[in-house]
């Protein structure tokens, strides 16, 4: 099983980057965990206690086949069923842009987790901007759908996301922006296609 998840990670450069932020043997919740590949990779590499949340029947079945502990529930309804601060990390990988309740899920991530880790496609990526300037909605590797069939509702740029965090009192502790597997340091909002953040609540909240 371990080789299977390691193979999946070869095509997902964000997996190894996320792994760098996670303490070995910590407790991790992955929201919208798909087939459980990220959790399986982290579990094999870091011996974490891994749980996934998934609402899609086919994905849920894949998780169970992959031996990943997975809870079937709708993220939009919040994370009732998970105690406050019961996880070290709550991950939301390439799912934020498809959520109806964007602020709600961010709040729930930081209620349940001590830290949040999020990845999303950067709408400000230059290829997206060029397509818009040419008069079309962007379609790319990161945004593969047409405007009429995309599941994405709330696309944002790196700058937009950081403004929202600021407004919500979320402190960003780390940021990595990548493009085609390479880290982008210069003008990330223009040159990066995928953003990866680690963040936490800026001030303590009592639940």
């Amino acid at each position: 099983m371990s080789t299977k998840f390691a193979q999946a990670a070869e095509n997902r450069h964000d997996f190894a980057l996320i792994a760098k932020w996670i303490q070995p043997r910590s407790k991790v919740l992955d929201l919208g965990c798909g087939d459980g590949a990220l959790l399986g990779y982290l579990r094999d590499k870091l011996e974490i206690k891994a749980y996934g949340v998934e609402n899609d029947d086919a994905n849920l079945l894949d998780c169970i086949s992959n031996g990943i502990s997975v809870i079937q529930m709708d993220l939009e309804a919040g994370l009732a069923g998970f105690d406050s601060l019961s996880f070290d990390y709550v991950i939301l990988s390439q799912t934020l842009q498809a959520m109806v309740n964007t602020e709600g899920v961010l709040r729930e991530m930081l209620r349940v987790g001590k830290q949040g880790i999020i990845t999303f496609p950067n709408f400000g990526y230059w290829r997206h901007r060029i397509q818009l300037m040419a008069g079309h909605m962007p379609v790319s590797d990161r945004l593969p759908h047409q405007w009429y069939n995309t599941p994405n509702l709330h696309l944002c740029t790196i700058d937009d996301f950081e403004s929202l965090c600021d407004k919500m009192g979320i402190r960003i502790t780390d940021r990595i922006v990548i493009n085609e597997g390479t880290t982008v340091g210069f003008m990330p909002n223009l040159l990066g296609s995928l953003a990866i953040y680690r963040f936490e609540q800026a001030w303590p909240i009592t639940y």
Partner: protein
């Protein structure tokens, strides 16, 4: 998809236990029999055993047939067999009839050794805890220390959960299906109506009807009719029967007019001839009493702290008797204890009965989970 087939012909066996069993009520069952069936082969390490726990009206005949002429196979035959989700090529599956039942294990109709007459009203109350203790005796009898899994739906799921609390080191996986951490007030109410139907039947004789050559059939029939209504969803009933009339027109009398009535009467009659009223009363009481959080001031997470097993919890969207919300309470308590748990909420129209149906997705979930259960001993 793997080839699957029936386990074929099976025969029940009886284990006799000479040592008394002290029940949760404080009463003592001086000796008892448990009738059971097994499917598949126990491996040399005795580490591939899976226990099936039955629900309210179930029994030990879970798979295969007793004779080729049997009309129906065992009650969970769609799950258990070679190549089926619970694959008897890998696992040694044990199904038994619980104490207090009426299919061969010691119950109210058995002879009380103290009196030489049927136990009747004097048969003690048995609880989920008592069943699990007696099931552990059966496992001992078969030389099995640790079960690879305990599997049950509804009241059977409660037994699977109880196993992980009573014998945390003797069970590696628990599959808790269409179950709940206790009954809701509404469920308690349904059970009380069922019991009143039986106990007010003139043929009941306070439970000592065996000696009177009487059977409280009418009461049991009504109890079962009520049960059937609650096991189905409104949608499933609507789809199956709707307002269909047997003869196409109203007859303006009390004969069977609607197909729904016909179905209920048929189910009630069938059950009343096959089941013992005293057993039914005790099974419903066992349901009522189950509440592991009760001793922990209602704190289910605290109650489940003893568990070590890995869990699969499954609920069905249209099950209003054991609703998904009740399964989620179990999941929450397991998560609070950082136990390994997966939870599937299966979209199904059949209500509570869905756990017995061969829904494709439901069975895929069970197969995927069970395929990952090791048949070796745990490290």
């Amino acid at each position: 998809m793997q080839e699957s087939s029936s386990i074929g012909l099976v025969a029940p066996q009886t284990a006799h236990f000479k040592d008394p069993l002290t029940l949760k009520s404080g009463e003592i069952l001086p000796q008892f029999d448990i009738v059971y069936e097994t499917y598949g082969t126990l491996n040399a390490a005795k580490s591939n055993a899976v226990l099936i726990c039955h629900a309210l009206s179930g029994n030990h005949h879970a798979a295969g047939k007793h004779a080729n002429t049997d009309k129906h196979p065992g009650w969970w035959d769609n799950l258990i067999g070679p190549g089926k989700p619970l694959d008897t090529n890998r696992f040694f599956v044990i199904a038994l009839n619980n104490l207090g039942g009426c299919h061969g294990s010691t119950g109210p109709a058995s002879i009380n050794p103290a009196t030489g007459k049927p136990w009747g009203s004097r048969f003690p109350m048995v609880t989920v805890e008592d069943w699990v203790a007696s099931q552990a005796r059966l496992a001992d009898h078969l030389g099995i220390h640790q079960l690879a899994a305990v599997v049950g739906g509804s009241l059977g799921g409660m037994q699977a959960l109880q196993w992980t609390l009573h014998y945390p080191d003797r069970v590696r996986h628990a599959l808790v299906i269409a179950s709940a951490p206790n009954l809701t007030a509404q469920n308690l109410a349904f059970n009380e109506v069922a019991r009143q139907a039986i106990m007010t039947d003139p043929e009941f004789y306070d439970g000592d009807y065996y000696e009177k050559d009487a059977v409280p059939r009418r009461g049991l029939r009504i109890a079962r009719m009520l049960g059937h209504i609650t096991y189905l969803s409104d949608d499933a009933m609507g789809a199956k029967f709707g307002r269909k009339l047997r003869d196409g027109n109203f007859k303006y009398n009390f004969d069977v007019e609607f197909e729904m009535e016909s179905y209920l009467r048929y189910q009630g009659d069938k059950f009343a001839t096959a089941f013992d009223a005293n057993s039914y009363l005790r099974m419903t009481k066992a349901l009522d009493y189950f509440d592991p959080a009760f001793a922990c001031h209602g704190d289910l997470s605290l109650a489940l702290a003893k568990a070590k097993a890995k869990f699969l919890v499954v609920s069905f969207t249209s099950d209003w008797r054991f609703s998904p919300a009740r399964s989620k309470e179990i999941v929450k308590a397991l998560l609070d204890n950082e136990l390994s748990v997966s939870y599937a909420e299966v979209t199904a129209a059949h209500g509570h009965d869905a756990f017995l149906m061969p829904d494709a997705h439901y069975h895929q979930i069970l197969r995927a989970y069970i395929d990952n259960i090791s048949t070796g001993t745990s490290a």
